[in-house]
Amino acid sequence: MRLINRYPSRAMRAALGALPFAGLLGAYAVASAIRLAENPRDKLLPSLSAMGQAMYQMGFVPDRRTGDLLLWSDTFASLERLAIGIAIAASLAIVFGAIIGILPIGRALFSPFVAAFSLIPPITILPILFIVLGLGEAAKIGLVAIGTAPLMIRSLAQGVLDIPREEIVKAETLGASTWQIATRVVFPQLWPKLITAIRLGLVPAWIFLISAEAIAATEGLGYRIFLVRRYLAMDVILPYVVWITLLAYLIDRLLAGMSRRLFAWAHLSGEAL
């Protein structure tokens, strides 16, 4: 049988999927062992057990100075910023995406502006945010919101435009007003697209969050990584990177599952990642 027609079984698929992860882990363990054999005090590639030990310290032993469990307080602080920033961006995306997508006048008014705004590298706005909003939470949340909103607005506006024109015309012939078309035809079809837009926006959102935390924060996952960098604490940095990745993955899966559950009609045809 041709290779292109050979499909792995379920168990085989799981095994194949785990293979690269196992490979990476094994390669790391070997490399770490080699380096540590040469120099037991090497900090670059700490052993898996050393990392486990460090993470145990971070996650289950209260910090001597603050009394917090650092891993969890960092995680909570970061997720809170991420959630608020994304919520602001999503709200903007719904309002402006709908205006741009539904109303030709709104499109003429906002579309060029959003297109231009989305080209500003958000990181360059960060100093401005720090100056204007101070070093507190607002600047970090603001960066996440500003960094993701244009992308999400454009994605939702396109989502509206992707609704076949026939549907809109059909609604008109059924006596619908512009408002009714928006609320009964467009918005219900926009919610699953909003979830997709959020999933898309989360990728840059994490980047902006970590960057902002690295520059000015007193807690947070990004703050911690850049703090311990000074001590070359790879045994904390590497597990933190894995932890952030895992969080991002779980949030993405959660959103995908939510969309399938809440908007079953949108997932009836075709397969999506």
């Binding site: 008109e172 059924l174 006596g175 007003s177 009964r184 219900p188 949108a266 045809s269």
Partner: protein, 275 residues
């Protein structure tokens, strides 16, 4: 009095004329079938009648009043695809017109009025033979079922004009016959004026009370796009409703076997046999 009058309709996209000098008078209650080569402007003509697009020149009036410049509830449409709302079930699709009408702000009805809307929707669902698919989404329906839903939904507003753009194009012959019979029945019942574009010349002949052929009358061999199409033949037909000798024009010269189970169809057939 003439119901619909189109005078000197011309349509161009950019420099390219698509339609030119289309003149048409149609009586109320006619079932006009439209045929013509692909790309000659049949769908464009329907869009103009609907008000979705404006003709470059000429006027269209219904009962002497120029038609509204945007689609409205007086003119229903069934497109070849995408005519129903994918986020609503069959029942939801059929309740939507009443909800639009009854609730300007929320677009939703509650309590007694909701029940009334649901009953009207269920009656239509029954008529188009979709009562068994009540809670299914369009993506879970076959092409024929989706088109039936689209037609039923359009008819709920009782439009005086119904525009159909190749509504049965993608259907197998059996389903197509069912749908044709359904259309004829609904048309008789409502007395609306129907314009139907089709590529099936047989369908055009046996369903219509009038057949229009769109084609180019002038050709420039150097420049095929130089001229637009117009109505080249306008053939009055007996149509389905006034055929006393039903046998002569019955589309289902093959007996309507496939439809025995469809209450809707058997009704249509029994009516036909009565003089």
């Amino acid at each position: 009095m003439t119901f619909l009058t189109a005078q000197r309709i011309g349509v161009s996209y950019g420099d390219v004329p698509i339609l030119e000098r289309v003149d048409l008078r149609v009586e109320e209650g006619a079932l006009v079938t439209i045929v013509g080569a692909s790309g000659c402007g049949k769908s464009t003509f329907l869009r103009i009648l609907l008000g979705q697009e404006r003709a470059t020149s000429g006027t269209i009036a219904i009962n002497g009043v120029p038609i509204a410049a945007e689609p409205d509830a007086g003119r229903g449409i069934v497109f070849q695809r995408y005519s129903v709302f994918p986020h609503l079930t069959v029942l939801g699709n059929l309740m939507l017109p009443a909800e639009f009408e009854g609730s300007r702000v929320l677009g939703r009805l509650f309590g007694r009025r909701r029940r009334a809307a649901r009953e009207a929707a269920e009656a239509m669902m029954d008529k188009i033979g979709l009562d068994h698919a009540r809670d299914r989404y369009p993506a879970q329906l076959s092409g024929g079922m989706q088109q039936r839903l689209a037609i039923g939904q359009a008819l709920l507003k009782r439009p005086r004009v119904l525009l159909l753009d190749e509504p049965f194009g993608a259907l197998d012959p059996g389903t197509r016959r069912d749908m044709q019979a359904m259309l004829i029945d609904l048309w008789r019942e409502t007395g609306m004026t129907v314009f139907m574009v089709t590529h099936d010349i047989q369908e055009a002949f046996h369903l219509g009370t009038r057949l229009l052929v769109f084609d180019k009358i002038r050709h420039d061999p150097q420049f095929p796009a130089a001229y637009g199409a117009t109505i080249t033949y306008d053939i009055p037909l007996r149509g389905q409703h006034m055929s006393p000798d039903a046998g002569a024009f019955r589309l289902d010269a093959e007996p309507a076997v496939t439809n025995a189970g469809n209450p809707f169809l058997s009704r249509a057939t029994s009516e036909e046999t009565q003089p």
